[in-house]
Symmetry: C2
Subunit: 224 residues, 2 copies
DNA sequence: TAAATAGTGTTGTTTTTACAACAAAAAGAG
DNA sequence: CTCTTTTTGTTGTAAAAACAACACTATTTA
């Protein structure tokens, strides 16, 4: 099946052979689903029975608070999981919603099977467990990074902190981000129009350039 | 040795028998250190060779940025680890500093031994690995919670979000927090004097009461 | 116990942000 | 291609926060 070649490239099945994945498929109760752009893959507060593994596309993890205001926690890409942190923590519900930001193919994995591997000695279970560990740690690092952006007091500092981090991650001063301006404002927890005017100012000052989701940091990273 | 009774109560050695911990001690290259209140347990940017397990006391994880402004990432208590996320992610340096907020006893564990357990089949290694997984997941949940606080736009919303979360965690509307006012401001990334006046207003309005590190939420949690 | 230090609350001023409203541009649907 | 919807940039105003300075209290330390 074509999907299995995608599975091999995911974080949690890294280093697992395709026939081993096939063997685990039944045990993990895997199922596949397709979603169109902007559709809800998983709604906030839904019971958490599966870990959702993104095989194609990308999606935003979003939160809506009691007052109805929306924030974007992060964007996940093909190969990454949604709900793994909650599943390993023992939560009963998804604490956020997952919204397709492109057309998506996802794989559902029964969470209790994934995090409590059966007791046979096959080494692929250990591989998956190690991959899950690494995946959880990466998510933790990602959150610390985001907390660093949010900790900055001024909008300009928040944006530059985020853009610098993206620049380092993508190893270039030219890079794409997964958010449009509205989503970037929701990600950085600032007002959209204030963000827009701050970006315009920085463009006018020659600090950055941008077009749609493409950005360019023109100054030395250390000087800003 | 007296210390081993403390180790049994930590997150990552939960469910491991004392004699098993003794057996692992050599393999993990464990060492003990004492620190007085306000001393630096680990400085920002130090090479990361050990995971630091707090056995007694509590400590703040702090970040200082290029401009010299300090933020408090979180406070960890006896039983919790510092540096586990970075170690499992494969980082070479601590990305933050660890400052004793009380007198502390810590245990150092060689990180490569902890996260790459030797290949014998003893079940306690699997137990430790599972505990590490759970510990990483808890840290992830904690960070998501903190991101929710920081995502709020107004100081009052940030404080109430944090206090509500503490109230739920401690299962009472009367609770202690690990921060004084200065540290709370550094934790919530707001100005100390602005925080102080906002707290005073909320006290005057009868929403909360507080004294030192002790707080009381007087209104229904859902209504605020 | 006295002196020094650290923590807290208050206030006024300046800076920054949120908010609201609108126009223009771009993207998507039929 | 045209109409509709979404996204983006701009501006002015009101609200909120940062900042700075100071007084007072609590806590350490000598």
């Amino acid at each position: 099946m074509e999907n299995f070649s995608l599975i091999k490239k995911t974080q949690i099945f890294d280093g697992v052979e395709e026939n081993d994945v096939q063997a685990m498929a039944h045990c993990f109760r895997i199922r596949f689903r397709n979603y169109n752009k902007n559709n809800v893959i998983s709604p906030q507060g839904a019971p958490l029975e599966d870990v959702i593994l993104l095989l194609k596309g990308s999606a935003n993890i979003e939160n809506m608070d009691a007052t109805g205001s929306v924030s974007v926690l992060m964007n996940i890409k093909a190969g990454q999981c949604y709900g793994l942190v909650e599943a390993c923590h023992g939560d009963e519900c998804y604490s956020s919603s997952l919204i397709a930001s492109e057309n998506c193919l996802v794989m559902l994995i029964a969470k209790h099977r994934l995090i409590n591997p059966c007791e046979n000695k096959c080494p692929r279970h250990l591989t998956v467990i190690k991959n899950i560990m690494h995946s959880l740690a990466s998510r933790g690092m990602y959150f610390m990074d985001k907390i660093n952006h949010l900790t900055k007091k001024k909008i300009r500092e928040k944006v530059l902190s985020y853009l610098k981090s993206q620049s380092i991650r993508q190893n270039s001063t030219y890079f794409d981000i997964p958010y449009n301006k509205t989503e970037l404002a929701e990600y950085l927890a600032v007002d959209r129009s204030a963000l827009s005017s701050e970006l315009s100012k920085m463009k006018a000052e020659g600090i950055i350039d941008f077009d749609k989701k493409h950005y360019h940091i023109k100054r030395d990273l250390d000087s800003i």
